[in-house]
């Protein structure tokens, strides 16, 4: 047992505990500053993680793995949490009590994600998933003076627990049929796919993961919860939680049962299609910004699922790349929304009217984020979608089903222009400006974070080389079985 492999997780958890301790000695008004400490620690861990190159190693009876994929996602989650923490500090005045606990919970959720990245066992999957989920129940309803926050928390709780039930039942079936819960062992078990019960188990695990990534038909919670949660939590939910779902999905589908991923192409395609359609169509008439991003996040889950449907190397790396772009984009968007809604006390698109005059930086950031989400070059979103579509075309061959999937994806992308550009329109060319044209104050560190997001979006879009290489390296270890059609050749 090589516990030193968990150094990142341990560091994060210790930071969280330290925050809880420090809270006791700090006066109330200083406590929000703890967020900077947390952010600093996370930043340090992030930087440190780049100095550490463990290769591929297993620990804890092979239930924990450190490989490039895990490292990629660990860095991804650290970066996400870093931004979320900065956003939280800015948001702290809207948290009436327990600011330091808020930071600590973010860190604990982060540690759950970090574990998820290294999961190589269904038990680990369950436990890390639960750590994330339960933490998010609390984070979601952290502003307990707001009914909406509580309502969102309860909805997330009930549906989350429901999906947990399915996951558990599925793991039970897997455990019974495969006699193991370890991904590597399952991968090496010949003939396990002949067992329908095993497949049912996998299916039910996918229900749980589908819930996390908000894929159809388990997407239904997303809009309400996104709307009700505090902005930093929504951002964390949209990026971190979703990415955790995806890393687990990748690990399960391509690490444990790669052949199934090929055989279930129809299932995956159907889910992908409906998810894309649902997210994008529902978003069209949406006026609430956070809710809009909720639908958008469903749509983006669909796009990411394109890479899963493609079930090939190109698809894997495309998912990673797109997630990376999505990170900067969504974080940027929530930064702006968080700042704008503080003053307006409203989340309707109207609050953006005249933002252009009130804060050109915020306006530009949000506009760029929307353009990137819409998939317009030269921003990150474009190249991500390009890679995803490419992977599907590559897989598709002349199979009409894949072309139908592409058609739906294109339709979704075009439809999404409608509402993303609607936001841009509100920012730049709305007729009536918001009631007050007071310039918005943006603190230095937030300014820095915004710039970082913009640079991230642009850099990924204009110089995607390093990111694509990184994503390719990270997913190189995943099994890449030949597709059934190739085998037939």
């Amino acid at each position: 047992m090589n516990a030193s492999l968990m150094i990142v997780e341990i560091a994060v958890v210790l930071t969280g505990l330290a925050l809880l301790m420090l809270d006791l000695w700090l006066p109330r008004e200083r406590r929000p500053q703890l967020g900077y400490l947390a952010a600093g620690a996370v930043a340090a861990i992030l930087v440190g993680s780049f100095l550490w190159n463990p290769g591929t190693q297993y620990a804890f009876n092979n239930s924990y793995v450190i490989d490039p994929l895990a490292m990629f996602f660990k860095r991804f989650f650290l970066l996400t949490a870093l931004f979320v923490l900065i956003m939280s500090v800015d948001f702290a005045d809207r948290i009436p009590v327990g600011v330091s606990e808020f930071y600590a919970l973010i860190l604990f959720a982060l540690s759950g994600m970090l574990f998820a990245a290294s999961t190589n066992d269904f038990i680990m999957l369950f436990v890390s998933l639960e750590l994330i989920t339960v933490t998010f129940y609390i984070l979601t309803s952290f502003q307990r003076h707001r009914v909406r926050a509580l309502e969102a928390g309860v909805k997330y709780l009930i549906l989350g627990a429901l999906s947990t039930g399915f996951t558990l039942f599925g793991i039970a079936l897997i455990f019974g049929t495969a006699q193991s819960t370890n991904f590597t062992e399952i991968l090496s078990k010949a003939g396990i796919l002949d067992s329908k019960l095993f497949m049912l188990g996998i299916f039910m695990v996918l229900v749980g993961l589908g819930f996390k990534i908000a894929a159809f038909p388990f997407q239904i919670w997303a809009p309400d919860v996104y709307q009700g949660s505090p902005a930093p939590v929504t951002a964390f939910l949209a990026v971190g939680s979703k990415a955790a779902g995806f890393v687990l999905l990748i690990r399960v589908l391509f690490g444990a049962v790669p052949t199934l991923a090929q055989n279930w192409n129809e299932l995956l395609i159907v889910i992908t299609m409906v998810t894309i359609l649902y997210g994008n169509l529902c978003a069209i008439p949406q006026r609430n910004l956070k809710r809009l991003l909720g639908y958008s996040s469903i749509g983006n889950a669909g796009y990411l699922l394109l890479g899963v449907s493609a079930a090939n190397a190109a698809g894997h790396s495309a998912i990673l790349y797109h997630l990376l772009g999505y990170l900067f984009t969504v974080i940027a968007a929530f930064f702006v929304i968080s700042i704008v809604t503080r003053q307006a006390q409203d989340e309707d698109i109207n609050v953006l009217n005249g933002l252009h005059h009130r804060s050109p930086l915020l306006a530009a950031t949000l506009a760029l984020a929307m353009i990137s989400l819409a998939g317009i070059p030269p921003l990150a979103g474009f190249f991500g979608k390009f890679l995803l579509l490419r992977s599907v075309v590559e897989r598709g061959g002349s199979d009409p089903l894949y072309w139908a999937l592409l058609g739906v994806a294109l339709f979704g992308i075009v439809t999404s222009f409608y509402y993303y550009l609607g936001v841009v329109r509100a920012i730049y060319w709305s007729k009536d400006s918001a009631a007050d044209d007071v310039p918005l104050h943006v603190s230095g560190i937030v300014r820095f974070a915004l710039f970082a997001c913009i640079v991230g979006m642009l850099f990924l879009g204009i110089f995607p080389n390093s990111a694509v290489n990184g994503a390719t390296r990270a997913t190189a270890g995943l099994s890449q079985p030949a597709g059934p059609a190739v085998a037939a050749k």
Partner: protein
């Protein structure tokens, strides 16, 4: 060698137009001088070319390679042979006179420079047609002629009638050009060339080279001429074109441009020597040749126009219909294999019709732009020079021996008598009508008592205007004595060396085709007699009372304009309405807006699932799950 200066003949007017447009817009006189100088030099060079040509058939002039892609090779060449030199002389000669005349007629107009620039542009374009060595070049200048005509008709563009007229002229011409271009394309696709010489060789070697499309191609090419020479059924634009300044009517719509159709037909006559081979399915068309169609169109046009002219009251319109009628003669002559006769008549017609128009212009000028002949009268005394020159023009047009018109018309009659007796009959009838309406005009304007204030205060026009009248009157009288027909046909090997004495030429027609000559003169006599009887002292038109419905139809130009308006409404406007309707309601509406609307509707519909009620959410969760399970794990 002077033929190498051909390019200057062509480009000098263009340069003049460019210089006027760019630099001398604000000094009208300078503009006029430049324009006149350009055409004068062109005229002199043409004369040089004429003498250089002498007894030779053609001269070789290096061409400009213009476009060469694949098997489409187009050059801007200079075809110098008798036909083109004769035409060049007409264009530059008559043109020079009209330029000079314009200087007087247009004096004081606020866009004087623009007028001369357009005039020079026209001269350039017209010369380009004459010089054309290939269809493509001809089409290019054909279109440019159309443009200059458009600009000149619409010279007074602020007048709605002029603006409408120029549009109508251009569009009607475009219909002809449609056929022309399509014909050219067909010929190119069949024979692989647009060069006249190559095409002529190909057809001479193989009469069936055009195969089944011979007649179709021939008629399509003729459509070009139909437009430019205003042949039935595309004749409607010419009378309206009289909205342009009178010198323009004289130059473009009487002497030169409208003759371009005839020139083109003569130039590409070799095409019509190809024998058509109708495919099996169209065997009933056997024997129908393009020439026959051309001849009939010409005949119909001449008769129709002459009839309409009888009941027109606008001095320029009468002349315009007369022009139509005479063009019909020429076209008919080409159709009856009388291309020399056509060119002959074209030449003489250019002189006397230009003269008549300029004379009319002089009258109009004196009447302060009054054009209704029933407002004039008794101008014989007040405008003697105009009167005399106009008289010569009228006589020549009527075909009175020994004026030029007699000889050329006689040639046409000869061609008709040989070719088609019915058409000959029509030709004679037209000659009668021509004499009648011309003398109607002549008597009413110059003899009958004055009917308005203006007429009694009219004065003779200045020398700059009457000078060209006199100059033009000379060829009007004597052009018949040069044997232009012989000059043209002398190019043929069999006619070479034949020499004609002056007297032979003078009475020649009575010698070799007495019937034609006598019928022609008889028609003149009857026509004159009728006009004299009815109009010599008439204060108003007696004809409408005598034959009401016929006269009304004539006055209303047989309702062609109304007919066409209805036709266009029924076809293009209707189609346009349908297309716009489809665009707005089906393509733009149902499809585009429909797709958008449906998408949004679906969005709104789907969104209803998001009721906010946790139980519904659980429901959807489970139902979705059940469906997926059912589809993928169904027993």
């Amino acid at each position: 060698m002077i033929e190498n200066l051909s390019a200057w003949i062509l480009f000098l007017p263009l340069i003049a137009a460019a210089v006027i447009t760019l630099f001398t817009r604000r000094s009208p006189s300078v503009s006029a001088y430049i324009s006149i100088a350009a055409i004068a030099i062109s005229f002199l060079l043409t004369l040089g070319l004429f003498f250089r040509l002498g007894n030779e058939t053609a001269l070789t002039v290096p061409a400009i390679k213009w476009l060469s892609v694949g098997n489409l090779n187009v050059e801007i060449g200079f075809l110098v042979d008798r036909l083109s030199v004769l035409m060049l002389l007409v264009v530059t000669g008559v043109g020079l006179m009209i330029h000079v005349y314009s200087y007087g007629y247009m004096h004081g107009d606020k866009a004087f420079s623009r007028f001369f620039a357009s005039l020079s542009l026209f001269t350039f374009s017209m010369l380009g047609i004459v010089f054309a060595t290939n269809f493509f070049q001809m089409f290019i200048f054909w279109e440019l002629v159309g443009l200059s005509s458009y600009l000149l008709i619409g010279y007074w563009f602020e007048k709605p009638s002029a603006a409408d007229a120029c549009k109508k002229a251009f569009l009607t011409n475009r219909i002809g050009d449609f056929g022309f271009l399509l014909g050219i394309i067909i010929i190119w696709s069949l024979l692989g060339s647009v060069q006249f010489s190559e095409l002529q060789n190909a057809i001479t070697q193989n009469k069936a080279a055009l195969g089944a499309l011979a007649t179709v191609a021939g008629v399509l090419i003729f459509m070009g001429a139909m437009g430019k020479s205003a042949q039935f059924p595309l004749h409607v634009w010419l009378p309206d074109a009289m909205e342009g300044p009178t010198p323009v009517s004289a130059l473009i719509h009487a002497a030169t441009m409208v003759a371009a159709g005839v020139y083109m037909l003569v130039r590409v006559f070799f095409l019509y020597t190809a024998t058509p081979a109708w495919p099996e399915a169209l065997s009933f068309m056997e024997g129908v040749t393009a020439l026959e169609i051309i001849a009939w169109i010409g005949g119909i046009t001449s008769l129709l126009a002459a009839l309409i002219a009888v009941q027109q009251n606008d001095i320029k319109r009468i002349l315009a219909y007369s022009t139509l009628s005479q063009l019909g003669y020429m076209i008919m002559s080409v159709g009856l294999d009388g291309k020399t006769a056509a060119m002959y008549h074209l030449t003489t017609h250019a002189f006397f019709k230009a003269l008549l128009f300029l004379g009319a212009g002089s009258v109009i000028h004196a009447m302060h732009h009054e054009q209704d002949i029933w407002q004039m009268g008794a101008l014989r005394k007040r405008m003697p020079r105009t009167f005399w020159t106009f008289l010569f023009g009228t006589l020549a047009l009527a075909g009175v021996w020994p004026l030029s018109g007699f000889y050329s018309k006689d040639e046409v009659f000869v061609a008709a008598i040989d070719g088609n007796p019915v058409l000959f009959g029509i030709a004679v009838l037209v000659a009668l009508l021509t004499t009648f309406y011309m003398f109607r005009l002549f008597f009413v304007v110059f003899y009958a008592p004055e009917k308005s204030e203006g007429a009694s205060h009219a004065h003779e026009s200045p020398t700059v205007m009457t000078g060209p009248l006199i100059v033009l009157a000379i060829p009007t009288v004597i052009a018949g004595f040069f044997g232009i027909n012989h000059y043209l046909s002398r190019g043929d090997a069999n006619a070479h060396g034949e020499h004609h004495g002056f007297v032979d030429l003078l009475i020649g027609p009575f010698g070799h085709a007495p019937l034609a000559a006598i019928m022609g003169l008889a028609a003149v006599i009857f026509g004159f007699a009728a006009a004299y009887g009815l109009y010599y002292r008439a204060k108003q038109d007696p004809l409408p009372n005598m034959m009401r419905p016929v006269a009304r139809s004539m006055r209303n130009r047989f309702y062609f304009d109304e007919l066409y308006a209805a036709l266009i409404n029924l076809t293009h406007e209707a189609l346009a309405k349908i297309a716009t309707g489809i665009d707005r309601w089906i393509v733009g509406g149902a499809l585009v807006k429909g797709v958008q609307g449906t998408t949004e509707l679906f969005g709104r519909g789907l969104r209803l699932a998001q009721t906010g009620n946790l139980q519904t959410y659980a429901f959807i969760f489970v139902i979705g799950l059940a469906v997926l399970l059912f589809v993928f794990f169904r027993p």
